[in-house]
């Protein structure tokens, strides 16, 4: 199985008739890009050191690299995003970062008005993304908030679907088919 650059894996598990989990896993941090970034920072630091002959530059470079790595792993790099749909309880979205931190949001079913696909213009193309429409408590007919799901890009993705008989195949899963899957999970 070849790994491609922007490959994202989708997994769907059904725990019971009323509970389903969809998880999207991104590719992990590449050693190549990590070493490239570190080397460029340190080369710049060495060049500055040669210019200024001040050893503070080197310690500052080490400090910056460490802090930058920690910030990247803890706040920027998302490892896995999952959506847990429990009928009559609600929808829970979890993003787990590369450092292990998990960000969870739970939306109760009474607040969910609908699950729709929204289209947006992003740079030079139109992308489709899945989002949840929330009900306004004061006016049941209007929509108070739109919550986009699965904040990673790209929106259309390759997926690997394990089939019960074993083996995997690749298919291009467009975003719109997720809606039908989610709706059947919610019903």
């Amino acid at each position: 199985m070849e790994e491609r650059e922007d490959c994202i894996a989708l997994q769907c598990r059904q725990y019971s008739a009323s509970c389903r989990e969809f998880s999207v896993r991104c590719q992990p941090v590449q050693l190549r890009s990590l070493s490239a970034a570190t080397c460029s920072v340190w080369l710049a630091a060495y060049w500055l050191f040669v210019l200024t002959q001040n050893s503070m530059v080197l310690s500052a470079a080490i400090f910056i690299t460490l802090i930058g790595l920690i910030v990247y792993l803890h706040f920027v790099k998302i490892d896995q995003e999952s959506l847990l749909v429990i009928a009559s309880l609600g929808i829970q979205m979890t993003s787990s970062y590369a450092s292990g931190k998990e960000n969870t949001t739970f939306i109760e079913m009474s607040r969910v008005k609908d699950v729709v696909i929204n289209e947006a213009i992003y740079m030079q193309k139109v992308i489709y993304y899945l989002c949840i429409l929330l009900r306004d408590p004061l006016d049941p007919q209007s929509v108070s908030e739109v919550v986009p799901l699965f904040q990673q890009r790209p929106r259309t993705m390759e997926s690997e679907l394990p089939f019960p008989k074993g083996g995997c195949f690749r298919a291009r899963v467009q975003a719109h088919c997720w809606v039908s899957v989610m709706k059947t999970a919610v019903l």
Binding site: R13, Q14, E21, L89, L138, A171, Q174, C177, K183
Partner: protein, 617 residues
């Protein structure tokens, strides 16, 4: 776990098709609403079970049944042996006290093997304590998976219910306070219908404190298991502090009433004094802290959670402020640093005055290559120089007393770091008072000149400002009026650069001082409004401030009900600070950058900050 299969669409699906698909799906969702009880294809029954009761012995399940949400919140387990009449009596007492509809919801059996006689006995109990539906939870000692069955005498739907078991930590849910997302806190009139399920769950557990008072070592007829069944825990220090706080509060209230009556006395209300008090930021800060002390020492208990948090925040913030102030004071008074500070104050003031004199000499010469009007230049320059000379004389007159004054004023840092910072800001304002005076003189002159010029420019063009109609009208002037007006216009126009330069220089100096004072005020505001207690609570006991909940799916087995673990999702630090911020007394400048520039151009005086309650200029 079942895998999912679905039809994968063609790769070249066109826009119309996916729109139709989305439309169909959304219509399908609207047609079958999950929450309405009229047309549900499958009913889901949720049982919230406290994780502390997982190892309890067999008995009866006691809790609250919420019919609208089809969920049962289990609060405790009553053990054998019991007398049904006594159980019913106890539960009705609890219902009266807590206003929560607590009743027997079912049976709980925790035994090694499934026994037929026990299960028959448990079914018979269903006839004694009639409750619709009757929940029977059964756990085998060495198995993780529980079985749950519902008995309904009059089933509303022909299909069998699906059961979801949700485990929750009773102690944490009881102590936690739920913060609804967004602006739901503002809608108090929609509490009943729109209250979220979670809020009802948290409410139920929190109100049932009376139920948790009985522990298993009590001699009563009822033996309960809940989170406190090992014995009620309390801390001696907390109890002692609660007892001690009442006389302390009374003493504090008495002292504060005395202090506030002194402050409000007529002696301090005479005109020069009250003007000075209003201008000094130290007095504002002291008044603010006095208000805080009054809030803390009041005898009324906090009615609800926000008030309690506010009191706690004010208390901790005051403590931290005083601690930092005492730290600063000990640093200042060690090695007589305050003496050194006083010694350097006069030379610094002298230095500033000398720099100003040099600046004025430069302005009186040829500043930046510009040629000034010599006569006006000399007049203005000499006037300002004389002013500086007066200022220096006054400072030198005060110099023997400076050290003593500063020593006593430094003692007031024990009232808090914010007070010390306000005093610093006031000292800066007093030391740079001459810069403020120069700015006012320069601005007034410039302002007069600009107004004169604009009015004479209108005369030049044959127009006049109509005060009644607030607009520009044409006007026919006499010849001598025109002649004098034109003369004055030219004089003012050619004197403009000189005045403008003086105005520019002094405005820049004044803005510099304003920026420094503004930074100090910002720091004081930050210390005043930061909710330290809430932040510490979020750090150490994060379950007390809940933004919501999160669910985790536990191991499943087909045939057994779905098991979920409910944990509390704590509030983020940003929302903690935003929700529990303490209000401060200063309001930030309402002028936008545009209006500020306009005021500067026209020469109007700018007041960078206004305190709440001050009259607008």
């Amino acid at each position: 776990m079942k895998g999912t299969e679905w039809e994968l669409p063609r790769q070249d699906v066109c826009g119309k098709e996916w729109k139709l698909l989305a439309l169909y799906s959304s219509q399908a969702l609207h047609a079958v609403e999950v929450e309405s009880s009229s047309s549900i294809p499958m009913v889901v029954l949720k049982v919230f079970f406290p994780s502390c009761c997982s190892s309890a012995e067999s008995g009866l399940l006691v809790g609250h049944w919420i019919p609208e949400q089809n969920s049962a919140v289990i609060l405790a387990v009553v053990h054998f042996p019991f007398i049904p009449v006594q159980v019913k009596q106890y539960l009705s007492e609890v219902r009266q006290v807590t206003q929560v509809n607590v009743s027997v919801l079912g049976t709980w059996s925790n035994c090694k093997k499934k026994e037929e006689s026990l299960s028959e006995f448990l079914e018979d109990l269903g006839t004694i304590f009639s409750h619709e539906p009757w929940i029977q939870l059964c756990k085998e000692t060495d198995s993780k998976f529980w079985s749950c069955s519902i008995i309904q005498k009059h089933p509303s739907t022909p299909k069998e219910d699906e059961i979801i078991l949700v485990y929750y930590d009773q102690r944490k849910v009881m102590l936690s306070h739920l913060h609804p997302p967004g602006n739901l806190t503002n809608s108090t009139d929609h509490k009943a219908e729109d209250a979220s399920k979670l809020a009802i769950l948290f409410d139920t557990v929190a109100k049932s404190k009376v139920l948790f008072m009985k522990d298993r070592y009590d001699d009563g007829p009822i033996k309960l298991t809940h989170w406190q069944s090992e014995g009620v825990e309390a801390s001696i220090i907390v109890e002692l502090m609660k007892q001690a706080s009442i006389p302390v509060c009374m003493l504090l209230t008495f002292l504060l009433s005395f202090v506030s009556s002194v402050c409000k006395s007529r002696v301090l209300k005479f005109w020069p004094l009250c003007f000075i008090w209003s201008k000094l930021s130290t007095c504002e800060q002291l008044g603010h802290r006095l208000e805080h002390l009054q809030v803390i020492s009041s005898n009324r208990k906090a009615q609800n959670q926000p008030q309690l948090m506010r009191k706690a925040n004010i208390f901790v913030s005051l403590l931290a402020d005083v601690a930092l102030g005492i730290l600063l004071m000990s640093w200042l008074y060690r090695k007589n640093r305050i003496g050194h500070l006083a010694d350097t104050l006069i030379p610094v003031a002298d230095h500033v005055a000398k720099e100003l004199q040099d600046l004025l000499q430069w302005l009186m010469g040829v500043p930046a290559g510009l040629k000034m009007n010599r006569a006006l230049d000399q007049v203005l320059g000499r006037f300002f120089l004389y002013h500086i000379h007066l200022w220096i004389s006054y400072i030198h007159l005060m110099s023997p007393f400076i050290e003593m004054i500063l020593w006593y004023v430094g003692l007031s840092a024990c009232l808090g770091l914010t007070v010390a910072l306000s005093i610093l800001s006031d000292i800066i304002a007093l030391l740079t008072f001459h810069i403020y005076c120069f700015y006012v003189y320069g601005a007034r002159l410039y302002c007069l000149k600009i107004y004169g010029l604009s009015s004479l420019w209108r005369l030049f063009r044959g127009k006049k400002w109509n005060v009644l109609r607030q607009r520009v009208d044409s006007c026919s002037y006499d010849l001598d009026q025109l002649f004098i007006g034109t003369l004055l216009f030219t004089i003012l126009l050619f004197l403009l650069p000189t005045t403008a330069l003086y105005y520019l220089v002094f405005t820049l100096l004044r803005l510099l001082v304003v920026v420094v004072q503004g930074l100090i005020h910002l720091l004081v505001d930050l210390i005043d409004s930061l909710p330290l207690y809430s932040i510490l609570l979020r750090l150490c006991r994060s379950y007390r401030l809940a933004a919501g909940v999160k669910f985790r799916v536990l191991e499943q087995k087909t045939g057994k009900p779905l098991r979920l673990l409910m944990q509390i999702n704590p509030l983020s630090y940003g929302s903690v600070v935003q929700t529990y911020r303490l209000p401060t007394y200063s309001c930030y400048p309402k002028d936008s950058w545009g209006s500020l520039c306009k005021k500067l151009f026209l020469g109007e005086l700018i007041y960078p900050w206004k305190h709440k309650g001050e009259k607008q200029d």
